[in-house]
């Protein structure tokens, strides 16, 4: 009834090939955009921005990036933290070297640099497959973190070894540094996320995305029907790393403000984002959002309940939180291995007939 393909007539090719061909999807998309751009900025405060919205937006970008690699192209990567670090250090170097250029472009260029690094570490994927590749990408993770720790040029020879985001503005509004308002942080990340999501959505439903999926489903068969594995895998790594680099740049410049590489971009980050992708649903853009929302909200919620309501000591609460997160992940994988996106798909199936099932 509410969600249906029937009766939604297309009279031009343009209409037929639009991003959301089904009316309900389209309306939902506009509604989400309207709320995200129009309503939330009016009510957002520092707590909500820092605890929920900004991390959610940034992790969504990273999850979309990783989902392209793992969910669409089938190349499991555990190097996400390292690639985010590349984005963060690239944007830091750019911000300090070219202060007159807008930070918006710095973030995009940082993504581009990360894409280059991603391609470099993606090259072995032509020979190495499956878990061997997953472990091989850990090489990127550890090597990059070590590199940013050991080479002082990357952190401008600062004594602490940390990188600090300088104050930068877009259209006269601070978006990085200490004076940034919650709304500015939120809007900057939201704009980036919207750009990334639209690009990702359109890439994955076009030729490139189909090639990725062919490689994922069976690379040899794909090769036989004329998909070039070199360019396909490399583009997957490039696009994925581009998004992850943007996420890393925002994570450092907007969200953290100051970062130490091992702490902010360690192996835990790689696992966290992989969890988002898996829990959200492999091969689904919506799933990336859902997974990021789930894993950002869960710890906040647990912390509020355990420390805030029950009044337990923080260290104990942290351990219990770890248990619950781990347990929930296992429960989730058992209950719905295809992730939250699959639940959404099932809901849409139901909505098709509901409330008149005959």
């Amino acid at each position: 009834m509410f969600y249906r393909e029937a009766g939604d007539f297309k009279t031009s090719y343009r209409e037929d090939s639009q991003t959301f061909p089904i009316k309900f999807d389209r309306l939902r998309y506009y509604a989400v955009l309207a709320v995200a751009f129009g309503v939330i900025p009016l009510f957002i405060n520092d707590y909500w921005a820092n605890a929920v919205f900004v991390p959610f937006l940034i992790y969504s970008i990273a999850a979309i990036g990783l989902n392209i690699l793992v969910g669409f192209a089938g190349q499991v990567s555990l190097g996400t933290g390292g690639f985010m670090a590349v984005g963060a250090y690239a944007v830091y170097k750019l911000m300090t070297a070219f202060p007159e250029v807008s930070v918006f472009f710095h973030v995009l260029i940082a993504g581009g640099i990360t894409a280059g690094v991603g391609v470099l570490f993606g090259l072995p994927s032509l020979r190495i497959k499956g878990f061997y590749l997953a472990v091989a990408t850990l090489a990127a993770q550890f090597f990059l973190v070590w590199l940013f720790n050991k080479v002082p040029w990357f952190y401008n020879y600062s004594a602490s070894g940390q990188i600090n985001a300088p104050d930068r503005t877009i259209f006269g509004v601070f978006v990085t540094g200490a004076q940034t308002s919650a709304t500015a942080k939120y809007m900057f990340c939201l704009v980036m996320l919207t750009i990334v999501a639209v690009i990702a959505r359109n890439l994955t439903r076009g030729t490139v995305g189909r090639k990725w999926m062919a490689i994922r489903d069976m690379d040899i068969a794909a090769e036989i029907i004329g998909v070039n594995p070199l360019t396909t895998k490399i583009t997957a790594f490039a696009v994925s790393s581009f998004f992850i680099g943007i996420a890393g740049a925002l994570f450092f410049a907007v969200y953290l403000g100051a970062a130490e590489v091992g702490e902010a971009f360690g192996i835990q980050k790689s696992f966290l984002i992989l969890f988002m992708v898996i829990i959200g649903g492999l091969g689904s853009i919506f799933g990336s959002f859902a997974g990021a929302a789930f894993l950002v909200l869960l710890p906040v919620l647990l912390k509020n309940v355990l420390v805030g309501t029950l009044g337990w000591p923080t260290d104990l609460a942290a351990h219990i939180e770890l248990m619950i997160v781990g347990g929930l992940i296992v429960v989730f994988l058992i209950a719905e291995p295809h992730g939250l996106a699959q639940l959404w798909r099932l809901a849409k199936e139901k909505l098709r007939l509901w409330p008149f099932p005959h």
């Binding site: 850990l138 040899i220 000591p313 248990m323």
Partner: protein, 328 residues
């Protein structure tokens, strides 16, 4: 002999010993991967959990003391007794078997036939859970593990090498014990899998799940068995690493040290785990010794991975892994 060469020899020896320690962890991975196709990320946390349990039992700690205190306002910490090391080790081994049964019943049973990546993520979830659980159960403070293993520098090695080369090698006693234990463990595992009925069933399952099922081998029993063995291997690794550097969170990170060993040796090969461990151990120590000072040191974190990565480009299935045959 020139000093540099002697140093290099000492570094190599130490690397070999370190490699044995890596191989101990890698062994647990290989066992589970062979028998169930699960890449068990939780192996490192299993080692941590085993070591924590061992210390806890040995010192008579009250499990969940912190939680009980927080919930009831009591102040309990220890029962007030200590358990002899041997008994504690046996009890811990029992706990690990129990854990294997629980894992099989609650997690693995429900995930049969899922994609490998899902199983892998499930073990990461398991690792998180166990990490939190171990800390809640036994407390998160750094503990000292002492089961009576010799500590310190081996004087015999030092005096023998001193009389031969005129320069005494520093080798840790504990490393020598670890080497002996690892050799014993591998021999026992090999004998078990070659000559016992269960061992044969294990190899059958590793070869082909469905064929094994069709001749009447219980897959679930084999999984419990193999996770128990992996738990036992984790206990041994936990004892060795725990005696060396204390029982704390970082113990679970040894899993990350074992991964390049696995890549190098092949996920399915027990000898591969040993040889891979030795290559990685020697490689990273020598690299740190020769090149490390020039580029800032602390190369041990990544060198093993890069070595394994370069190696895999030439031999994608690892040193002893089964040849990957792909068909359309």
């Amino acid at each position: 002999m020139p000093d540099q060469l002697l140093f290099a020899m000492e570094v190599t020896l130490n690397g070999l010993m370190a490699g044995v320690m890596y191989a101990l962890v890698a062994l647990g991975f290989v066992l589970i991967y062979k028998a169930s196709g699960i890449f068990n990320y939780a192996q490192g946390v299993l080692a941590l959990f085993a070591a924590l349990t061992l210390v806890g039992i040995q010192q008579g700690q009250v499990p969940f003391a912190h939680l009980i205190n927080a919930m009831t306002g009591m102040h309990v910490s220890h029962f007030g007794w200590t358990v002899p090391s041997v008994l504690a080790i046996i009890l811990t081994a029992g706990v690990m078997v129990g854990l294997a049964v629980i894992i099989e019943k609650l997690v693995l049973k429900h995930l049969v036939n899922q994609a490998p990546i899902i199983l892998f993520m499930a073990t990461i979830g398991l690792a998180y859970f166990l990490e939190g659980f171990g800390d809640v159960m036994w407390g998160a403070d750094i503990k000292k593990l002492d089961v009576g293993l010799p500590q310190g520098i081996s004087e015999t090695v030092e005096s023998v090498t001193d009389s031969i080369f005129g320069y005494g090698f520093f080798i840790d006693n504990l490393d020598i014990v670890a080497t002996v234990v690892a050799v014993l463990l591998v021999t026992a595992l090999t004998l078990f899998s070659q000559y016992s009925k269960q061992g044969r069933a294990l190899r059958a399952v590793a070869d082909d799940h469905q064929a094994a099922l069709s001749v009447g081998i219980s897959l679930r029993f084999i999984w419990i068995l193999v996770w128990s063995i992996a738990g036992f291997v984790a206990l041994v690794a936990g004892i060795m690493w725990g005696s060396k550097s204390g029982v704390q969170f970082s113990l679970s990170l040894i899993a990350l040290k074992a991964l390049p060993v696995l890549m190098l040796g092949g996920f399915t090969s027990i000898p591969g785990a040993i040889v891979g461990g030795l290559i990685i151990g020697v490689g990273e120590k020598l690299f740190e010794f020769a090149i490390g000072p020039m580029i800032g040191g602390a190369t041990e974190n990544w060198f093993a991975y890069v070595l394994a990565l370069i190696f895999l480009v030439f031999r994608p299935q690892g040193l002893f892994g089964e040849k990957i045959i792909e068909r359309v």
